[in-house]
């Protein structure tokens, strides 16, 4: 099935936006003391967030993890409040409580983000249970890494989701590394998707650098979920082009490997095809790039100009009522 021009544009736009956003962060991180905490980027993996979110409705829920930027931007999060949160500013989407690691944007149905590896998986069961309980026509997507697939939480969550046929899509972003461990150093199973069988759940492998393929797989999984057929495990094969975090010297990642994957970059992959098919013109592409760059510059300016929270604001937001 041909993906509509609009959808392709939407994906291209979020791909460009995520990349521009993170490219800005790479530079900002070089300024000592500007960005607090650990900076974790998804450069090279953006097709996963873009492809998945393009297949969702605004009411669908996503749960992301420490590597969240492309997921959140693709779901529609405002780059300004995201950037401000990353700076630790009062205008940040989480008022400075989260910082860069647990960016949560309930406004776009990304209601909570956990950086406990694997932590999102049991939460997804709860969100999807609520969707089924209320007979909504919505699904929950949980993004997680290949490393997370070794946590006990993965196992318990997939078993329960399958047992109750919950409307959830488990999206494993296999970027070939979990911290400094290569995939084959942390498990012997050839594909994470092969684990789906352990829960009598369909498992699908897609090229995680191909936004269109990710989109199609998500669309199918979403239809299954809405049809009452239960969850799907989708494994997106991709690559972490930068270090685990910005302070990681990447000694353990072979230069040629990084090079090879950089050549498979999901951005030219999509706009190359779109150009070839005449879905976009070079001028339009340039204009789109300029538009997202402006958004990012604006977000950085917003974050820079925003105040830090007052120290005592730390005491707020713990409980609704105490």
């Amino acid at each position: 099935m041909q993906v509509s021009k609009d959808k392709q544009w939407e994906m291209l736009r979020t791909l460009l936006l995520a990349r521009s956003f993170e490219d800005a962060l790479v530079e900002l991180c070089k300024v000592q003391g500007k960005i607090p905490g650990m900076m974790i980027l998804c450069t090279g993996q953006e097709a996963v967030g873009s492809g998945v979110c393009a297949a969702l409705s605004p009411e669908d829920v996503i749960l992301t993890n420490h590597r969240s930027h492309s997921h959140l931007l693709a779901k529609g999060a405002d780059p300004r409040t995201l950037m401000a949160e990353i700076y630790g500013k009062a205008t940040g989407c989480n008022r400075g409580k989260s910082g860069t690691l647990h960016l949560a944007v309930p406004e776009v149905n990304a209601p909570c983000t956990t950086t406990v590896v694997g932590g999102g998986l049991p939460l997804a069961v709860g969100f999807a249970f609520a969707q089924m309980y209320r007979q909504e026509r919505t699904v929950t997507v949980c993004f997680f890494g290949d490393g997370a697939a070794d946590e006990g939480s993965f196992h318990e969550a997939l078993n329960l989701a399958s047992l109750w046929k919950l409307p959830v899509i488990f999206v494993c972003e296999n970027n070939l590394y979990a911290g400094a461990q290569r995939y084959e150093e942390h498990t012997r199973v050839q594909n994470v998707a092969d684990r789906a069988g352990a829960y009598a759940m369909p498992g699908e492998i897609v090229d995680g650098n191909d936004a269109l393929a990710v989109y199609e797989a998500t669309r199918r999984a979403r239809e299954r979920a809405l049809g009452g057929l239960g969850p799907t495990l989708i494994e997106c094969k991709t690559y972490r082009c930068r270090g685990h975090g910005e302070s990681d010297p990447q000694h353990y990642q072979p230069r040629e490997e990084i090079q090879m994957w950089t050549e498979k970059c999901p951005l030219p992959r999509l706009h190359g095809e779109m150009l070839a098919q005449g879905l976009i013109t070079p001028q339009e592409l340039e204009a789109l790039q300029a538009e997202v760059d402006r958004l990012v510059q604006d977000a950085v300016r917003f974050a820079e100009e925003s105040p830090y929270p007052e120290p005592h604001e730390a005491l707020e937001d713990v409980l609704v009522a105490s």
Binding site: R95, P106, F127, Y133, G152, E156, L160, V318, V320, A321
Partner: protein, 325 residues
């Protein structure tokens, strides 16, 4: 008034709240179909009344059970899930401590997590330390959680109903032995506010602060001591977090003497918190050293004489009170 065990009181609370609010559901291991037959148990009969859509038996997967609660709460339901025994809290603790308690804060106050985790606690049934291990001090040391540990069936009912209506995550700990000790429970609907201790016995010579099953021990010791002319005030915390400092301080300022009684092991137990609060805010009124009467610093042993040795009793409490009066 109706006489109910605490399990039955919990059962009534669950039933009433499920009838009142369709967002409330329960989940856990054996909360529907059970290996037990007794009507004294908290979830007896609920599957029949509310059906498998709202009474969810789960696999043996504590992290998933807790995660279910956290996610469903954030999505607007009112989960009440059961972790079968307090030691298995460990297996759910990441979901409860790093998620239920923190995700609201991490969202900057945007998301809410109105959930209840019910757990059975307490020694006395010979099952040993992997089933009996009171860890209320753990959850009480976790900002973002409220902690309730009722001592009577009536309190359990009113507090559980309040917990289910609360907007925040609540840990609700039931001592299993109390399931089989009937007490009066009002028939008309009522709630008991979270965060209020109750003076279960007024007295002037010494304050005993306690909670859960140990209230019975405190009352028994108080009766014995009364015969010897020692007038004990018994403060039942009911809620550990938020802690009702007012009531504790009022009582200790009056009596000038403090004994804290809990079943959990001694070092690092919640008694320390009470001692600290009193020494911060009522030092001037205190007339004697404090005493803690607690389980010893050992795992709960299985053999009957050993297990009895573990559980604090009236004899130990009487002795401790006499040391400082």
């Amino acid at each position: 008034m109706q006489q109910l065990g605490m399990g039955q009181a919990v059962n009534q609370a669950l039933r009433e709240e499920m009838q009142r609010d369709s967002r409330v559901f329960i989940a856990g291991e054996g909360v529907g179909v059970s290996i037990h037959d007794s009507p004294m148990l908290p979830t007896a009969g609920l599957l029949g009344e509310f059906g498998p859509g709202r009474v969810k038996d789960t696999p043996v997967s504590e992290a998933a059970i807790a995660g279910l609660a956290v996610g469903a709460a954030a999505a607007g339901l009112r989960p009440v899930v059961e972790i079968m025994f307090n030691p298995f809290f460990t297996l759910a603790s990441d979901m409860i401590v790093n998620h239920a308690a923190k995700l609201r804060y991490l969202s900057g106050g945007k998301s809410t997590f109105p959930l209840v985790i019910r757990m059975k606690s307490g020694a006395g049934f010979g099952a040993g330390c992997q089933h009996s291990h009171n860890l209320e001090a753990w959850v009480a040391h976790c900002p973002g959680l409220k902690v309730i540990m009722p001592s009577t069936p009536a309190d359990a009912k009113g507090l559980l109903k309040a917990a289910i209506r609360d907007e925040d995550p609540v840990i609700f700990i039931e001592d299993m032995m109390l399931y089989f000790a009937p007490g009066p429970v009002p028939e008309e609907p009522y709630l008991i506010p979270i965060g209020k201790a109750e003076v279960k016995r007024e007295g002037s010579d010494v304050t005993v602060v306690t909670w859960s099953k140990m209230l019975g021990v405190a009352m028994q010791a108080a009766a014995q001591l009364a015969e010897e002319g020692i007038d004990v005030e018994v403060v039942d915390l009911r809620t550990l977090v938020p802690l009702d400092k007012e009531t504790i301080l009022q009582s200790t300022r009056k009596t000038g003497r403090l004994v804290v009684l809990h079943e959990a092991s001694r070092t690092g137990g919640f008694a320390g918190e009470i001692c600290a609060v009193v020494m911060e805010e009522a030092f001037g009124s205190m007339k004697a050293p404090f005493r803690r009467v607690t389980g010893p610093d050992i795992p709960v042993p299985a053999s009957p004489p050993l297990e009895r040795f573990y559980i604090p009793d009236a004899t130990k409490l009487v002795a401790a009170v006499k040391e400082i009066v």
